[in-house]
């Protein structure tokens, strides 16, 4: 039996219960909604960009412990990053949870990557991978100009 505690590590339970940056941004430069039709979960990601830099990022919505913790941790690591750094972090995170080829990150991002490590336990739970990636897909959609339609996980 897979140990559930690999999935529900303390940091996940903590962020699931007490999500950080769980609020709207009053005048976001970018925003997008994410929707997982399988479970009905919804997340809205808000971004305030200053030039190429993420000055502020936050989210709202309802979801399971995994998706809430994923969104919470995502906002924590993304704040202050450039868009290129944010995309690199997502690419690596996505590869880790879906079992893709994990590329190298610049040294400056390694600490952030480690912050996201507890979420990679979803790899062993194929039905739950989408919970962890939903907020990131919404973030990406926000950058693409905030799709009128919510992005879906499937």
């Amino acid at each position: 039996m897979i140990d559930l505690r690999d999935l529900y590590q303390d940091i996940i339970l903590d962020h699931g219960r007490h999500p950080r940056n769980f609020r709207p941004i009053e005048h976001p430069t970018h925003t997008a909604r994410g929707h997982n039709p399988l479970c009905g979960d919804r997340v809205t990601v808000y971004l305030a960009l200053e030039g190429d830099k993420i000055a502020d990022v936050s989210f709202e919505g309802r979801g399971c412990a995994i998706s809430t913790a994923a969104a919470s941790l995502m906002t924590e690591v993304l704040k202050g990053k450039t868009l290129a750094e944010a995309r690199a972090l997502f690419a690596q995170f996505h590869a880790k949870v879906t079992g893709g080829e994990v590329g190298d990150l610049p040294e400056a991002l390694e600490e952030d990557s480690e912050r996201l490590e507890p979420l990679t336990g979803v790899k062993a739970y194929p039905a739950r991978v989408k919970c962890a990636t939903l907020p990131w897909h919404a973030f990406e959609a926000a950058l693409k100009g905030g799709a009128a339609e919510p992005v879906k996980t499937e």
Partner: protein, 405 residues
């Protein structure tokens, strides 16, 4: 009446031998298959398979005999008057789409109304919504009351001479509420409306007599009734079916085709274009035989007792909220744990070997009404017993401990 012996019955379900310790509580989504169905379908392929209604050779005749015997079994199971009222479809979803798309445009017009309940599965909701948008008909939703039961008084008040169709489930796939179909039919018929009943959750666990119910259409999926997936039944009153135009067209449903025009067969073949799911029908017959051999009264008694036990057992768990299902309910229970998302509960339960369904159960309008994203749903079959409920309860407790400590 000798009660069912679920532990002995499990020996007829190979899935239990291949998954030791499995606590399967998702029969509401799809039931497991007895060996008689699995082996019977294989045996049919080995001995008697050919296309139906086509060949002049003996093998094709035997195959056709099996296929039509399955139709007769379904007729008897529903106590329908005429075997030609039984149409084989892929499942209840296809059955309802067939009625909405064939009967619908022919018999409803702009300004008419169609009534559904707020308990409906998307498959008994979206086809009517589509029809309404296409034809300019109003979709009226009959509510459940605070106890989770169908509100007959509110339903009656919604009916009018404009009502042309009432489409309701027999047993809710979310709460297990049993709807008072006989009364619904009386009230609807008094206004001249037709009634379609989605019998997916009722067929595997209670006696269904379409003539006693008085409804106009009744449908179900085979896979929820211990049969194969991909086969189901639409039953309709013959005069209604005979007045309906074909739905899909192609081979097997025509009497004559010229370059200018086509003449269509009478029901049921009019509605069975193309080569049907022949082995599926054979499997469905074996599944209905399986149910009949156990006895629908016994199955209902068994599952009612189990439902009562589960309600009692789960109600004693702190922070657990059972969705109400009215005064009469059967085999399906939905619940939520305060502060824990259904998907997290589902994952923890799975790690304890307990298979339940989590999510909106294809009933988003009901979830919206209740203001929830989803639920955890346990549903029962003939192979479940009190030990399964105890395992479920223990796993739920473990889940609470993990998330709420």
């Amino acid at each position: 009446m000798k009660p069912l012996d679920p532990k002995a019955l499990r020996r007829q379900f190979p899935v239990y031998q291949n998954n030791p310790g499995l606590v399967f509580l998702d029969s509401g989504a799809s039931a497991q298959k007895p060996a008689s169905v699995i082996d019977g379908v294989a045996e049919f392929y080995r001995r008697d398979y050919a296309n139906v209604h086509r060949g002049v050779y003996q093998l094709s005749q035997r195959s056709t005999d099996h296929f039509e015997e399955a139709r007769e079994t379904a007729r008897a199971f529903l106590n329908a008057a005429d075997v030609n009222e039984v149409i084989f479809v892929r499942g209840a979803t296809e059955a309802i789409n067939l009625v909405a798309q064939s009967w619908g445009p022919e018999f409803v017009k702009a300004g008419d109304e169609i009534v559904v309940s707020d308990l409906e599965h998307h498959s008994n909701f979206v086809p009517w919504q589509m029809l309404c948008q296409r034809v300019g008909v109003r979709l009226v939703v009959a509510p459940t009351d605070a106890s989770g039961g169908f509100d007959l008084a509110a339903f009656e008040a919604l009916l009018s001479p404009r009502t042309k169709m009432v489409a309701v489930t027999h047993v809710s796939n979310v709460t297990g509420a049993i709807l008072p179909v006989e009364r619904i039919v009386e009230l609807a018929h008094a206004k001249g409306a037709k009634v379609l009943v989605d019998g997916c959750q009722a067929i595997p666990r209670m006696l269904v007599d379409v003539r006693a119910l008085g409804c106009d259409f009744y449908c179900f999926s085979g896979h929820k009734a211990y049969g194969p997936s991909g086969i189901g039944v639409l039953w309709g009153r013959y005069d209604l079916l005979a007045a309906m135009p074909p739905w899909q067209t192609g081979g097997g449903m025509i009497t004559q085709v010229t370059l200018e025009r086509t003449e269509f067969q009478e029901p049921p073949h009019r509605f069975e274009a193309g080569t049907p799911d022949i082995s599926g029908a054979v499997g469905l017959k074996l599944a209905l035989d399986f149910i009949e051999e156990l006895g629908r009264d016994r199955i209902r008694e068994h599952e009612e007792a189990l439902t009562g036990y589960a309600i009692d057992r789960l109600s004693r768990i702190p922070d657990l909220n059972l969705l109400p299902g009215g005064q009469r309910r059967l085999s399906v229970l939905s619940f939520n744990l305060d502060g824990i998302h259904p998907h997290d509960v589902g994952t923890v339960l799975d790690q304890h070997g307990v298979a339940v369904r989590v999510g909106h159960h294809c009933a988003q309008p009901l979830m919206d009404k209740l203001g929830i994203a989803g639920t955890v749903r346990a549903s029962f079959g003939v192979y479940n017993d009190r030990d399964d409920i105890d395992r479920l309860a223990a796993a739920v407790e473990a889940c609470r401990e993990m998330f709420l400590r």
